[in-house]
Amino acid sequence: MNASLISLEISVIGLGLVLMLADLFMPAERRKFLGYAAIAALGVLLLASFAGCGSCSLTGTAFHGAFVNDGLSLFFKRLFIIAAILVLFVAVEFSDRLTAISEYYSLIVFALAGMLFAASANDFAMLFVSIELITITFYVLVSFQRNKLASLEAGVKYLILGALSSAFMIFGIALIWGTTGQLNFTELAAVASQFADSKIFLLGVLLVLVGLGFKIAAFPFQIWAPDVYQGAPTPTTAFLAIGSKAAGFVLLMRFLFSAIPSITHSHALSTMLIIVSGITILYGNLCALPQRNLKRLLAYSSISHAGYLLLGVAALNANGQAAILYYLAGYLFTVLAAFLVIALVLRQLETEDVSGLAGLNQRSPLLAATLTIAMVSLAGIPPLAGFFGKFLLLKSVVEAAQTTGNPGYYCLLFTALVGVVISLYYYFNVVRAIYWSKEPKDVSPIEMSGAAKLTAWLCIAGIFALGLFPNAVLNFALLAVGGLK
């Protein structure tokens, strides 16, 4: 076995530990720099992964195939690292509201480690452990503002429901293993087809899906999302919205397309995916319509986006899987842009109501532009990332509809369209609140640190780049999903 395969994970965990230790020697007022240090370190790792030196770019399996490094994992690892970097930026901006900020940083890094493992998980044990690593760190991250009741409440809700879902998942794993005797995805794939009609096996599969569905907040397991998003500290929400969702998706794809492909393409499961994705889209968008609380609004919108992403899963074809990857990449920048603005704007005023954005275009044109672009991209309007992502997803579903001729896909398509139209409203409400609301109370300009400006520009650049020059990323994504069936 080639241990250097996991050097990336090892170094990330190392980074987390170092951060915790450094906290001891760092005077309180300078702890901000720990954040920048972490960012820098992660940046180096990211560059390394691109430069191809070290483990990150070489492919292979470790721990008897429990841990796999391939295109897919590489794509997601880069995604996670970028997400973590941007989240850390937000966290640094947010630091004055948090005690013990450096633990916060290190927890983010540990969560990142969990995600990296998730990206490579090719075995139920690895799947379970990585998910738990993510979830448990998030329990803490969510409830990090111990002085704030909302934060604690969110933490507890996340804790209970998260534990519940992992209980279901572990039981499912038990059943799968019990029936097939396989924990490793690759080996399972070989035998899965024999158990296609074993009820117990199917039960296991479904329970595992429950666990993953909880992570990506798909209907009917979306119920936790709004409260947790609202209560958690903004950087955590951001990381929850992109990081843990993406982790859920990579595991879902591994599970469905490399562990049990034969089952996945069975009629029952594919129909279920179609229905779940459709309902998720509608639920998220409909509930967001009357929503005024900004973070809660984004929570609902993230539910609907989980639905859009599920389109790609339901399509059951390579283009669909590639579309998921592409969409997540765009979603990363969009969501982080939105939460950056929220973190900066709603920092001083207690309300998180949309009306808090009034007059933002006078207070800080850059922030206003950033949030607007984020919203427009979420709404899926050219020339931004969201449009091209949605385009790819719809295209994959149309292909599925055409190849299988399953009428369900047409219904799914129209549901998605309806969802998009509904979503236009609440997104444009936000934009309207920024530019054209009644004259706000305070028009005091918002001061932004250079780091914050940088983050904003990074997000904007990312959104536009993915909208205007999709070629490179798309090819990478197509390459990445080559291993899936």
């Binding site: 074809n317 390579a318 427009v376 309007i381 050219p382 020339p383 449009f387 385009f391 719809l394 295209k395 149309v398 292909e399 055409q402 190849t403 398509l413 369209l417 998009v420 139209v421 236009l424 409203y425 444009f428 934009v431 309207r432 530019y435 054209w436 999709p470 070629n471 798309l474 090819n475 197509l478």
Partner: protein, 520 residues
């Protein structure tokens, strides 16, 4: 770089430039907008004049430029004009210029307004020029969204929000359905390219199977139809134009709306010829709804803008009729009306905007006798109204007459109904409008109105009128360009006559095979 890229590019560039201009430099902002649109107008005229001399490429397109964009999907930035869209690009550029000139009526948040206006102009010009389905849609969407925002923010009247809601709802749904149709077309064709000429070539040799065509065509028909306010999906149009600021109304009613019709002619007919023949009847009878029903509704209107809005919906009916006739005369006529109505709609909404800006109302019961105080505007409006009810000498008449001649051989009944709508109903509501708004005694309160005095103010109206007259007197300028390319489409459609079902059936498996190949 193709001249078309420049035509569409200048406004977008100017929009970017405006972002950095401080908002209190009103004059500069305005100047930049006007200048950019003016440049693209000049270029468009140059392009139109030089059309004859330019050498067409293999597929018969001129001023072509192609840049690969996403190879894996076969998307490329591909612009070019043939007879079908050369007139539209010219019209679009001129209307954009006129709209920019008319925007002096906007007093609040000028910077944002001009940015949106320029994005809209650039987007729609690009959409008309592009020969790649993806960019075709992409640029249209780019132009569509500013419309919503402009109506929502700068709109007039108390029904503003409702109108914004409705127009957004309708147009987004329409656009998305059309997108669905386009994607389905792309997937079905199995050519793995969004390039329209390539698709046409590919589908000529192996057309889609019948039921696939009959599934995709309605998507395109109704998707595009909603964008063009095809009856019964029209109710957004009068309302939206009623509240929209006049530059927006000019650009949307004049130019953006033609996108759907152009899409039908450019994409739906040649790529889905068989379905086109099946659905022609439906189109023909739906357009009766536009012409008669909406015409009658227009007769009821009390508000000048609503009346004009309804009449412009009614005019769409003639274009649909021309398309439905599926013969050379009809389609040529349809394209003629598209161009003519572009100028006309822009003109009428611009004039309404002037009157509204002067009087603060467009209720015809409150207006009257304006010809006395506003000789120039009044005369222009009168001429516009006359062009609107198909008076010879204006471009609309040529188009409508051509459409009638084309449709007569196919749908005599519908043609007669359309005649009634054009000559009688159109005449009735237009003359009523003139009688109520321009003729009759002038109410006391309007004694202070001022006419468009400076040549600068008169320019947009004069320009649009001039275009209407030029193409009305010398329709050959357009028909000679349209004819050959409309002919190609007609032949493609005729070739797929139901008689040749057998041939189609043979080709189905191969098409299937290719489409399944790209799945892997």
């Amino acid at each position: 770089m193709s001249i078309l890229t420049q035509i569409a590019g200048w406004p977008l560039l100017a929009a970017l430039a405006l972002v950095v201009v401080p908002r209190n430099y009103r004059v500069v902002i305005r100047a930049i907008a006007v200048l950019a649109t003016f440049i693209s107008t000049v270029l468009a005229v140059k392009m139109f004049v030089g059309y004859g001399c330019a050498v067409p490429d293999a597929e018969g397109f001129r001023f072509v430029q192609q840049i690969p964009w996403v190879e894996s999907l076969g998307i490329s930035y591909h612009v070019g004009v043939d007879g079908l869209n050369v007139g539209l690009v010219l019209m679009g550029a001129i209307v954009a210029f006129a709209a920019a000139l008319c925007s002096w009526e906007i007093k609040t948040r000028e910077k944002e307004f001009y940015i949106l206006l320029l994005v809209m102009s650039g987007g729609i010009l690009g959409a008309f020029a592009s020969l790649d389905l993806f960019f075709f849609y992409f640029l249209h969407e780019l132009a569509l969204v500013p419309t919503f925002i402009m109506i929502g923010v700068w709109g007039r009247g108390e029904r503003k929000n409702y109108a914004t809601f409705q127009i957004t709802l309708y147009l987004s749904i329409g656009a998305l359905i059309a997108l669905l149709g386009l994607i389905a077309l792309y997937v079905q064709s199995g050519a793995n390219t969004f390039d329209i000429p390539k698709l046409v070539e590919h589908l000529k040799s192996n057309p889609l199977e019948t039921n696939a065509q009959n599934f995709i065509f309605p998507l395109l028909l109704f998707g595009f139809g909603i964008l063009v306010s095809l009856w019964p999906f029209h109710s957004w149009a009068p309302l939206g134009y009623g509240v929209a600021p006049s530059p927006t109304a000019m650009l949307h009613a004049g130019v953006l709306k033609k996108f759907g019709l152009y899409g039908l002619i450019r994409v739906a007919l040649p790529l889905l010829p068989e379905a086109a023949q099946t659905w022609a009847n439906v189109i023909a009878w739906l357009c009766v709804g536009n012409i008669l029903y909406v015409g009658w509704v227009a007769m009821r209107q009390k508000d000048l803008n609503l009346l004009i809005g309804n009449s412009s919906v009614a005019h769409m009916g003639f274009i649909f009729l021309g398309i439905a006739s599926l013969n050379l005369i009809g389609i040529t006529g349809a394209v003629l009306i598209m161009v003519a109505h572009g100028f006309l709609a822009a003109l009428t909404f611009a004039l309404n905007g002037y009157i509204y800006q002067q009087t603060g109302t467009l209720k015809m019961s409150e207006l009257g006798g304006l010809c006395r105080k506003l000789p120039f505007i009044g005369t222009a409006l009168l001429m516009a109204a006359m062009a609107g009810c198909g008076l010879p000498g204006f471009a609309n008449f040529v188009g409508e007459a051509t459409v009638f001649f084309g449709a007569w051989t196919v749908f005599p009944t519908v043609t007669v109904i359309a005649l009634w709508g054009a000559l009688v109903i159109g005449g009735v509501y237009m003359t009523r409008a003139i009688r109520n708004a321009l003729h009759g005694p002038l109410p006391e309160k309007w004694s202070a109105l001022v006419d468009a005095s400076s040549a600068w103010r008169k320019l947009p109206y004069a320009l649009l009128l001039l275009c209407l007259l030029v193409f009305g007197f010398v329709p050959k300028l357009l028909t000679e360009k349209i004819n050959p390319d409309a002919g190609k489409i007609v032949t493609v459609v005729a070739a797929a006559a139901p008689a040749e079902h057998a041939l189609v059936q043979v080709d189905v498996p191969t098409a299937r095979a290719q489409s399944s190949e790209i799945e892997q």
